[in-house]
Symmetry: C2
Subunit: 319 residues, 2 copies
């Protein structure tokens, strides 16, 4: 162990989140740069490298004090080499990102999928602290996932492990998913899925609060939880359906992993107990009793920092 | 590494399979003893110990030449201590089996779930040879499972990982399962489930071959595959249904694990391509395309030896 700092980089579709993190998890410095997706995102590696190099200079931290960079990208990553097969949102395809960033910075680099790093962050300092077995589910525009088993991230044979959003929950006649399949979990229990279900419910129930909201403005998943909280039956029906489906999908995943903790993050998780209570009830209905006994639910604690903290932990675990 | 031999022990409801295995996987000696389930199976540990000790003497192998014993039991195992919480078929509840066998034999002992050891056996010398990520499914009276990820068996937080038979495949109104839930995979795609489905189909189709078989004798899952092979529509419908359900369950599991290989074993797997062809087709329909790309199917190769070979490999991996 030569240095005392870890760099976390969380590459998203609009910004790259960056942080300098100490061995105990303290964030020394946190900043963002825009993600330049022009020309298949070709400038991103050098943008990240120069931003890191400049910030270290500003902070008077010599690169010899940095153990390494842990970077997360939204796509399929070969974690042994840092090669990225595809990261649709930022335009990358077949980029040797890990080696590129290493050359540009002179630092050691580890790369993983962004959802996996968020899981790792929660595993180090958040709601899944210290768990050897952990399932992290991110409910946002889509549904992301990260799994820790035997204390290690699951990456799988070609970087698609823990893609929980693409578990099939509607075998026949489900809605089309971006992945090319139909009936994926993401089509039901993401923010987008909740809004789609709510629109269907609003049409069926013209008297509902949901229908009034739909006519007033753009309906969001938050509105659906709010309407449900205020007793609107149509909204309650939507929440019951999406939590039942999600609870079953997580229970089935838990039968593979037998986790100690299930951490729910992403924008939809801001609904808190309005989401967690029916979700946990559904989970316990579908999980093997002994599996259910071993596990508890929690809302993700690190918010937007989960990725950079996970990046730092990835470096720490490899040293 | 002091010795050159590994002992595998596979404890089943009627017999305990035992073997002395060399470092390269060669089986030096293989034998069985009856499982004495009297008095909650209290004699089993000493029966195993004396049988191992006596056989080593007969084979003129000094215990100093034995690296350790790897034992599999059909139940929930704490693999760090070898403590068995429950193994219903052999009557065990709260047995400190690992330490007991260690005291009785003077050898180092590792214990795991029997389905996990079968997966490990196939991973060492069988259809899943050398895979870092592997899902093994055993289709017998029930449905068992074992998962290897990052090169390690998944045991989970309390020994229920990879209990694939209890994935919920029928959310509402499914058949009752031994585990206390309803609609588990085991109620559909096990030998028992296939026969149950075939009886339903036979009643609906009095003209079917299935119905004739049902009246003639005890219907088995093998009969259903045979009738399907000979073009009986009712039987073909049953096979189509049970492989569709199994294919979806495996695809959903594969979305967590992203395996290189899926190994199908157990009595039902003797149907070979009659099972594998429709199963693989269903799997590819439900799996994420990139996940499907990474994976292939195979029939388990080690038969009844998988457990003892897996036991030996468990010792080998820990040394």
């Amino acid at each position: 162990m030569m240095g005392h700092y870890y760099i976390g980089a969380d590459i998203g579709g609009t910004t790259v989140k960056l942080a300098i993190i100490e061995d105990n998890g303290t964030i020394t410095k946190k900043w963002e740069i825009p993600t330049n997706t022009d020309n298949q995102g070709e400038a991103i590696p050098s943008d990240i490298a120069s931003s890191i190099t400049n910030t270290l200079k500003e902070e008077a931290i010599d690169t010899s004090m940095v153990v390494g960079i842990g970077a997360g990208a939204p796509g399929f990553v070969d974690t042994t080499t840092g090669y990225i097969h595809e990261a649709v949102n930022i335009g990358w395809k077949d980029i040797d990102f890990g080696n590129l960033l290493k050359e540009l910075t002179g630092m050691t680099v580890w790369v993983d999928n962004d959802a996996n790093l968020a899981a790792l962050g929660e595993n180090w300092l958040g709601a899944g602290r210290g768990c050897t077995e952990l399932i992290a589910v991110t409910l946002g525009t889509g549904v992301g996932g990260g799994i820790i088993a035997n204390g290690q991230i699951l990456n799988g044979a070609n970087g698609t492990a823990a893609e929980l959003g693409h578990v099939t929950v509607v075998p026949e006649g489900g809605a089309p998913c971006n992945c090319g399949k139909t009936g994926c979990l993401e089509t039901v229990s993401s923010a987008t899925g909740i809004v789609r279900k709510a629109k269907e419910a609003a049409e069926k129930h013209p008297e509902s609060k949901l229908n009034a909201l739909l006519n007033d403005a753009t309906l969001t998943s938050k509105d659906v939880f709010e309407a449900s909280k205020h007793g609107d039956e149509a909204a309650k029906g939507v929440i019951a359906e999406i939590t039942d489906v999600l609870g079953m999908a997580i229970a089935n995943m838990a039968i593979a992993i037998n986790p100690e903790k299930i951490v729910i993050g992403g924008g939809v998780s801001k609904a808190g107990d309005l989401l967690l209570d029916p979700l946990e009830k559904a989970y316990r209905k579908y999980a093997l009793p002994r599996t259910a006994e071993a596990s508890s639910f929690g809302i993700a604690e690190l918010g937007n920092d989960a990725g950079v903290i996970g990046g730092a932990f990835l470096v720490k675990k490899n040293n």
